[in-house]
Each structure stands twice: as C-alpha cells, then as structure tokens.
C-alpha cells in the first residue's frame, strides 16, 4: 500500500530554482503555468478564428460578391473551422484540465509534467503552419474543415501544411489525453474513489479515452490523403480501385467522437457550476456518470449520420438513424439532472451561473435540432444546408464556448486571488446570448428554406435572414472583446477574493487559498 510519504515526494517535484521570463514559460512543467499557456493560446486562436468568421459574415451580409473571391471565401470557412475546433476549443478545455484536475483530485501536479510541457509547445508551431498556409501558393486549403476527397486531393500545398499541422495538433491532444487519463486514474488523493470524483474529472476521463481512440484515426485519414496526393496511392480514387466515400467513413469515425470530445468537458463544467450556485449537491451523480459513459460509447456508433445522402442502403441508413436518436436519452438525463439540481435550491446568478443556465437553454435547442437531423428522411432536405450550421453552432458555441466562459469566471478568482468585475461580466453574458441567438437562430430558417452551406453568394430569397445573421455576428464578435477586458482587468486590479470565493463552492480546490499556490497539495489530503 502506498504511504503518504511516497506520494509526497515524487521524483518530478525536486526543488528547482525558479526561472524567469521566457525560459520560465518555455520550460515550465507546472500544471498551473501550462494551463495558463493553453488558455492564452486558445483565446488568441479564438480571436483569429473569430475574425475569419466576421469576414465570412461580412461577405454574406448581402447577395452578390462584395469583398471576397470565392476561393478565398472557401479558405476562410475551412480555416475558421479548423482553427476554432483544434486551436481554440480543444486547447481551452485542456487548459482547464491542466489547471483544475490536479487541484480537484488533491494531486500535486499532472502524472507526466514534462510530457505536459511538450504537449503544449507542439501547438504554436502547428498554429503557425496552419495560419501560414494562407501564404502558400494557391492559399490555404479550401476543402472545408471536413477535407473530403477528391476535392482535398486537388488542393495546393496549403493542404499539405494543414496536414502537418493536424499531425502536430493530434500528437499534442493524444499526449495530453494520456497525461490526463493517467493523472485521474493514479494521482487521486487517498479516499477519493472514482465515484467521489467531481463531474469535471469524470467527463475528462471519458474525453481522454475518446481522444486516445480517435485522434489517431484522423491522423491515418489525413496521412492517406497525403499519400493519395503525392505518393501514388489511391485510397480515395475510384480509378485505382478506391472510393471517395471511404474518406468520409474514416473521417467521421473520428469526427463524431470529436464533437463529443468538444462537449463532454463542457458538461463537466456545468456540473460544477450549477451545484455551487444552487447551494445544493449535484442531482443524480450516479446517473450523470452513467450517462457520460453511455455518450462515450454511443459516440462510436453514429458516424454515418453525416453521410445520409451518400447513397447508403436502407439497412445502414436505419441503423445510423436509430443509434443517433438514442444519444438524446443520456444527453437528456444530464439536462434533467442539472434542472433537478437547481430545483429547491437557493439560487444566485453571478456570471458563471448565468452562462451555465444560458448553456442549458441554448444547448437544448441545439440538442433537439440534432434529433430532427437524426431523422434520415428529413436530413435529406437539411444535409449541407444552414440548418446544420445552426445546429452545430448552437451546440459548440452556446455549448462549449459558453461553458468555457462560465469556467473562466468560476475559477479565475481561485487562480488569481482577485474577483472579476461582476457587472461587466453580466454585460458580456447578456450581449453574447442576445447576439448569438440573432446570428444563429435565423440560420435554422435558412436551412429549412434550402440555403446550402459554404457558398459565398446566394439567391435573393435568403437575403433578409443573412443580413440579420451578419449583424448578429458582428455584435457577438465584438462582445468578446469585453470578455478580454474583464479578464485582463481582473488579473491586474481585481478586488481580493477569498479562499472559498463562492458561498456554495464545494471541492478540494476551494480548500486552497486564493490565489492557489504554485505548488498545491504537495502532501495529498485524505478524503473521507
């Protein structure tokens, strides 16, 4: 049996003189510092990806081509997707994992601190490759973030740069996930059984397994693309006995679990915030854990619903339809559990709670429209239209992004020892939720009316809703600068925060002082 002695003095915690300046950040193996690096990187990528979205919406403000050539428009839509998914949302969740997981389980740091450093520092070169691809001959790849062959085989060198960036991003995610899984499995404080872990830890455990399982499949898909492009293979070329649809199968076998990777940590965050501001324990902890695992398993069975118009036979079409509809059940359980937590609680609505409740409202819309899309016959009308764009922005922006805002406001006082400006943060919420809905709700109508995706110009009947969406997008985009201001103001001159910070806060991290010391839980607490 392990003694506290053994755990307290782990080999990687030998005292090291504190480095300063750039070297401090380049060589840090501290989970808090690396968490900060991930979050700063991800917010920078969020602004880059967001600027691309604003360019896209500016072009779509009115019918006709005003600012962008069609090929540049396609490059922007592609890179907006790749940067937001792989550069903004995923690193942000890893950043929160880094900061919070060790504190929440009473560990001194992640299981593999040097691997942690390596995992982060793969990201800036990947980002440079990705953004640099705009300057390659022919520009960045314009095949959509889904990179379907044979269009992606046709693309210029920007596609190859993107493939290498994807490999780097993938390795970063995989080693990060291995680190997270190992930390959760073997660095929990004594007495913290799996069923006593906070939900954020549980959701990250399942997410980590998904990452390890599917990121390599994406890697093999883009490698096959690379060899089809340059080395004479014909995986996706009918001429050589291949099949373009094979790419879609491989891609979505990765791609669908990927979207659960993007949302499960968000679910975990919401499961931390709502009990705190309801001053009540999470309702249905056990079923939350089961639902999370169920979603993790079902994630592997539904990839075909992205391919309903490819020409499946009746059998596969029905199978994917039924399996996809089934995902609504564990997702619903989670939603109901959050409401059950609020029920008969004692609620206050500081910014984290505002974003959490906002999350529930808008994620519900995203979720039910997912059920609509699951109905294969209806999907035939909606596939590749703006209905799908609206659906995934509701789940990923209102879902993942709002949860990231909630998490920032929730934990920033713990990290910095300073409170953020509550009034400004509430303004951030109000502006975000209003402009978000203005931008994306009308896209459901556009999709129903038949407007396809990824077009820089459109027939006149789509003009009014496009104008509304573009105005909303501008509002939503610029509101995020307010978030930046709130965070910077908090870090520099926020008022002192207490150790507990929130009246209803429960969990190991809240037993630490604010700001949390650089090395916390060097001696693990004992959990009863």
């Amino acid at each position: 049996m392990n003694t506290i002695q053994e755990m307290a003095v782990s080999p990687v915690d030998e005292p090291v003189e504190e480095r300063r300046g750039i070297m401090r950040w380049l060589t840090s193996t501290n989970h808090k510092e690396i968490g900060t690096l991930y979050l700063i990187f991800s917010f920078a990528m969020f602004l880059v990806g967001g600027s691309m979205a604003l360019c896209i919406r500016a072009e779509l403000f009115r019918p006709g081509l005003q600012f962008l050539r069609p090929e540049l428009f396609n490059q922007l839509t592609t890179m907006h997707g790749l940067i937001m998914v792989f550069g903004a949302v995923m690193p942000a969740f890893v950043g929160f994992a880094n900061w919070q997981l060790p504190m929440m389980i009473g560990a001194s740091d992640m299981a593999f601190p040097r691997l942690n450093n390596f995992g982060f520092w793969l990201l800036p070169p990947a980002a440079i490759l990705l953004m640099g691809s705009f300057f390659a001959p022919g520009g960045a790849t314009a095949a959509g973030w889904t990179l379907y062959a044979p269009l992606s085989v046709q693309m210029g060198p920007g596609m190859d740069m993107a493939i290498f960036a994807i490999h780097l991003l993938g390795i970063s995610s995989i080693v990060g996930a291995i680190n997270i899984a190992t930390t959760i499995l073997h660095r929990r404080a004594p007495g913290m059984t799996l069923m006593k872990m906070p939900m954020f830890v549980w959701t990250w455990l399942v997410t980590a397994f998904l990452l390890v399982a599917v990121m390599p499949v994406f890697a093999s898909a883009v490698t096959m693309l690379l060899t089809d492009r340059h080395f004479g293979t014909h995986f996706f070329n009918a001429a050589g006995g291949g099949d373009p649809v094979l790419f879609q199968h491989i891609f979505w076998f990765f791609g669908h679990p990927e979207v659960y990777i993007l949302i499960l940590p968000a679910f975990g965050i919401i499961s931390e915030v709502i009990p705190t501001f309801s001053r009540k324990p999470l309702f249905g902890y056990r079923s939350m854990v089961l639902a999370t695992c169920a979603i993790g398993v079902l994630a592997f069975l539904v990839w075909g619903h992205h391919m309903f118009t490819v020409g499946f036979g009746v059998g596969p079409e029905l199978f994917f339809m039924y399996a996809t509809m089934l995902v609504a059940v564990p997702t619903g359980v989670k939603l109901f559990n959050w409401i059950g937590t609020m029920w008969q609680g004692s609620l206050t609505f500081e910014a984290p709670m505002l974003f959490a409740v906002g999350f529930i409202l808008v994620f519900l819309v995203g979720g039910v429209t997912g059920v609509v899309l699951a109905v294969a016959a209806v999907d035939v009308q909606l596939q590749d239209t703006y209905y799908v764009v609206a659906h995934f922005h509701y789940t990923m922006v209102a879902g993942s992004l709002f949860s990231l805002f909630a998490a920032t406001y929730f934990w920033l006082p713990k990290w910095t020892g300073r409170m953020y400006d509550e009034t400004l943060a509430r303004w951030h919420f109000g502006l975000s939720i209003v402009f978000f809905n203005m931008t994306f709700f009308v896209m459901f109508f556009l999709g129903l009316a038949g407007m396809p995706r990824r077009i820089p110009d459109y027939p006149l009947q789509f003009a009014d809703f496009n104008m509304i969406a573009s105005i909303g997008a501008a509002g939503f985009g610029f509101s995020q600068l307010l978030f930046l201001y709130v965070v910077v103001k908090c870090v520099r001159r926020g008022t002192q925060a207490s150790g507990r910070v929130w009246e209803g806060a429960v969990g190991l991290e809240w037993t630490l002082p604010s700001p949390a010391p650089k090395h916390s839980f060097e001696i693990p607490p004992v959990i009863k």
Partner: protein, 183 residues
C-alpha cells in the same frame, strides 16, 4: 506497485491504444472493401462462379440498362452498343461495349463498374468482363468488348431495373499483360 510503475503502465497501454488506432485507420480501407464485397455494394474485380442450376426464370423480366462514362481528358469514345436489354434471371447474357481510341498513341485504361441500385451488384454475376483488367488500346484502335453475365434469381423481387455503369479511367504508363486482353 508504486505509483510511478502504475503510471508507466497506463502510459504504455494508452500509447499502444493510440498506435493501434492509427493502424486501425489503415485497416479500414481493406475492411471497407470486404464489407462492400459482402453487401454487394461495389463491384467485384474478378470473375464470378456460377452455381449449377441456371434455368432462366422465364416468368420474371429484369430490365438491364448499360451506361458508360469517360473521365475527361481520355481521348476515347466509349459507349454501350445497346442501351437496354430485357433479361430473365438465370439467363446468360452477352452485351458489348465499344471503345475507340481517337489518339495517335496507345493508351491504357481501367474500367470501374458501378450499379444502381447499389445492392444489385451482389446479384449480377459476371463471367467475363473487360473491367477485370487494365485494357490497352493501340492508336486509332476500335474494339468491341463483351460482358457476359447473368442475374442471380435470388435478386429481390422488388428490383425490376438494374443499371450497370462503367467509368473508364486512364492508367498512365501501365500496359496490360498481353494474355489478359479480351478481344
């Protein structure tokens, strides 16, 4: 077992999982080809065996349609010599496709077959077909190539029309082995 050992074990297991999933990605193409074969979705590249009882089912007629496609750039004319043929399941049928090479040099190509409805592929048993191998055509050569097939009588009853469509792709720099040329 110490924590460090346990952690190393999990690390190695997960690295192995990641590596196998990368390999799994590469297993998917042959797996996909196999599943397509079994479900009859994509064409079979070799001659089928025909089961003993080949009495044509005279009560049932299936309309076969013959379609042809050329990838742009191939300086050939490629067409079926007959657009349709009514066929009884179990009956041996021969149709021909004609290729004329309009260029002044030899070109090789491979025909890929595709069926509609896609599931019908499993029931179209081809005994001889130019799609089994790469075909080389000399400059200005015009050649008729047969397809000999029969429709298995277990073709589902609700299928009354089957379209057989070939797309010819150029295979640069490859010559067909002389003995496999079908003439």
């Amino acid at each position: 077992m110490s924590i460090a050992t346990r952690q190393r074990r999990v690390f190695l297991i997960l690295i192995a999982v990641a590596a196998s999933m990368f390999g799994f990605g590469y297993v998917l193409p042959p797996l996909y080809a196999r599943v397509c074969q079994l479900t009859g979705f994509n064409q079979l590249q070799s001659a089928d065996s025909v089961s003993g009882s080949a009495r044509p089912d005279a009560d049932r007629t299936v309309l076969m349609q013959f379609d042809s496609n050329l990838r742009d750039g191939l300086p050939w004319n490629f067409r079926a010599t007959q657009a349709t043929a009514p066929v009884h399941p179990g009956q041996l049928v021969q149709v021909s496709y004609e290729v004329s090479n309009n260029s002044d040099h030899a070109i090789s190509g491979q025909a890929i077959a595709s069926y509609a409805p896609a599931g019908a592929a499993a029931y179209v048993r081809k005994l001889e077909c130019f799609c089994f191998s790469i075909q080389t055509f000399a400059a200005h050569e015009v050649r008729q190539m047969p397809v000999i097939f029969l429709i298995d009588s277990s073709l589902p009853r609700d299928v009354s029309t089957v379209t057989l469509s070939y797309t010819f792709f150029e295979v640069p720099g490859r010559q067909a082995p002389a003995k496999e040329n079908t003439t």
